[in-house]
């Protein structure tokens, strides 16, 4: 398992760089967690950056892991491609502790990755990034004709949908018949 350092500070609790506001409120050292995608590449991300993800925030909020425990138990997201998870982690780091501007120029630009990115962001429940990604998707068809929209959003024609439905029914029928035959065989 390889590892990349995505955090903004080292794994050890960070030393405060500025004087605390008052003696009664010392600065809490930042904690880090580890996540990996389908490619098993582990990304180290601060809890502050992970707050963008409602899913991960909910998972870590009551864990109270030590640095060692966090490192030993990275969160696996096997349904997310490694490069997509990298994009998401980068975005979370860039927007750590900051509200997202209405026009976010830090969004990954690769259109070919947009579909997977949207699904990942939706799964990880990163609301602001999801809104921005959905905007990108919606913008793709601005001013386009239905024919162009059909191509851009890969929409099958009615005939194609009907053919696919027939095929699915046929397949389901075959599977059901196979199961019945297998059950009859078992009974014998």
């Amino acid at each position: 398992m390889s590892s990349t350092e995505q955090g903004t500070s080292s794994a050890a609790p960070a030393e405060p760089t500025t004087a605390p506001e008052s003696a009664a409120a010392p600065e809490v050292p930042e904690s880090f967690y580890y996540v990996h995608g389908k490619d098993k590449v582990v990304h180290k991300v601060s809890a502050g950056a992970l707050q963008h993800s409602a899913l991960i925030h909910g998972m870590i909020s009551n864990l109270g892991y030590t640095e060692e425990q966090a490192k030993a138990n990275p969160f696996p997201f096997e349904n997310i491609d490694g490069d997509i998870l990298q994009m998401v982690v980068d975005w979370c780091n860039q927007h750590k502790g900051k509200p997202t501007p209405p026009e976010d120029t830090n969004l990954p630009k690769q259109k070919e990755k947009l579909f997977d990115l949207v699904l990942a962001v939706n799964y990880l429940e990163i609301k602001e990034l999801l809104t921005y990604c959905c905007k990108q998707v919606a913008m793709m068809v601005k001013g386009k004709s239905p024919e162009e929209i059909r191509e851009i959003w890969m929409i099958p024609t009615d005939a194609e949908d009907e053919a696919a439905e027939k095929e699915a029914k046929k397949r389901a029928g075959k599977e059901a018949a196979g199961e019945t035959a297998a059950a009859a065989g078992d009974a014998k």
Binding site: K111, V137, P146, W153
Partner: protein, 300 residues
């Protein structure tokens, strides 16, 4: 780079739809039966619809007016034009060439529950048949009609036949009737939105006025007389009556400034009428070609 939109989970699809305007969703609905079904199943939109022309149906969304205009010219289909701020037009082919069919298509596709405006304007072009069908659909589907407007002269008899339908409509904001009716026209209006303005109101008698719950009432060409107004003001003074009324204007040749009543002197100076609960209304009388009574209520 294409993206397989329909492979998105339903909630995500809804998120994308939310970011599309009515023109984009209409065009998407035209891509396939499946896309139309997906749009129909998303019930998060709060758009409104307007029907006021035989060649046009308008969608009101996010402070913009999206005008769908009928065209017979395929080369103009889906072309858009900005006419003024917050107003954009797109040419399309209405189903069966009928504005009624387009109204129903948009209503169903976008899951619309509110008619911003339903208007019949005889002088533009005659579309009473389509208008009547839209009214019928609005009743059948219990749509909220915010503003209903009827204006015309020539088709008075035909519109008179349509009028009974109005009481079945759920009109909430204004009912404006600039329609002229045959002299023998009788009608009992029982639905009262916030505001009614009736410009040929000879048929609206004192009983209808006494039952009216609108906050603004404007009646022209009325047959109401001083005696009727006396009855009205006697009732108005009682506690709990006409709780919404703020503004009443009646233009009637049956009104004079000679008969005794609360309006005495109102042709010279505003007269105060005081309700039993202390609420004050101000009455003025203008003895013009059409004597006009104006009554304003100042409530807390």
């Amino acid at each position: 780079m294409p993206i397989a939109l329909l492979k998105f989970p339903t909630d995500l699809l809804g998120d994308v739809f939310k970011l599309c305007n009515p023109f984009e969703l209409y065009k998407l609905s035209k891509c396939s039966k499946r896309t139309q079904k997906s749009i129909k199943s998303d019930r998060t939109k709060s758009w409104k619809i307007e029907f006021s022309d035989r060649n046009e149906v308008i969608i009101w969304a996010d402070r913009w007016e999206y005008h769908f205009n009928n065209s017979d010219n395929p080369s103009s289909y889906f072309k858009t034009f900005y006419f003024k701020e917050h107003m954009i037009t797109m040419y399309v082919q209405f189903p069966n060439g009928k504005s009624f069919d387009m109204f129903v298509y948009l209503l169903e596709t976008f899951g619309i529950r509110i008619v911003e405006k339903l208007e019949y304007r005889e002088y533009l072009n005659s579309y009473l048949d389509d208008f009547s069908r839209v009214a019928k659909v609005s009743i059948e589907r219990n749509l909220e009609i915010e503003n209903l407007s009827i204006r015309g002269v020539l088709e008075g008899k035909a519109v008179a036949n349509f009028m009974p339908v109005i009481n079945q409509m759920n009109i909430t904001k204004t009912f404006v009737c600039l329609q002229e009716f045959p002299q023998n026209f009788h009608y009992q209006l029982t639905t009262f939105p916030s505001e009614i303005r009736i410009y040929s109101s000879f048929w609206l008698d004192i009983n209808q006025l006494l039952n009216c719950t609108s906050s603004r009432i404007e009646l022209s060409d009325s047959m109401l007389s001083n005696k009727d107004l006396d009855v009205f003001f006697e009732k108005w003074k009682q506690i709990g009556t006409f709780p919404n009324l703020r503004h009443l204007v009646i233009r009637s040749k049956q009104i004079d400034d000679k008969s005794p009543g609360v309006w005495y002197g109102a042709d010279r100076n505003p007269v105060q009428v005081i309700k039993d609960d202390g609420t004050v209304g101000t009455l003025t009388l203008e003895m013009l070609k059409w004597p006009t009574l104006k009554f304003r209520v100042y409530a807390d």
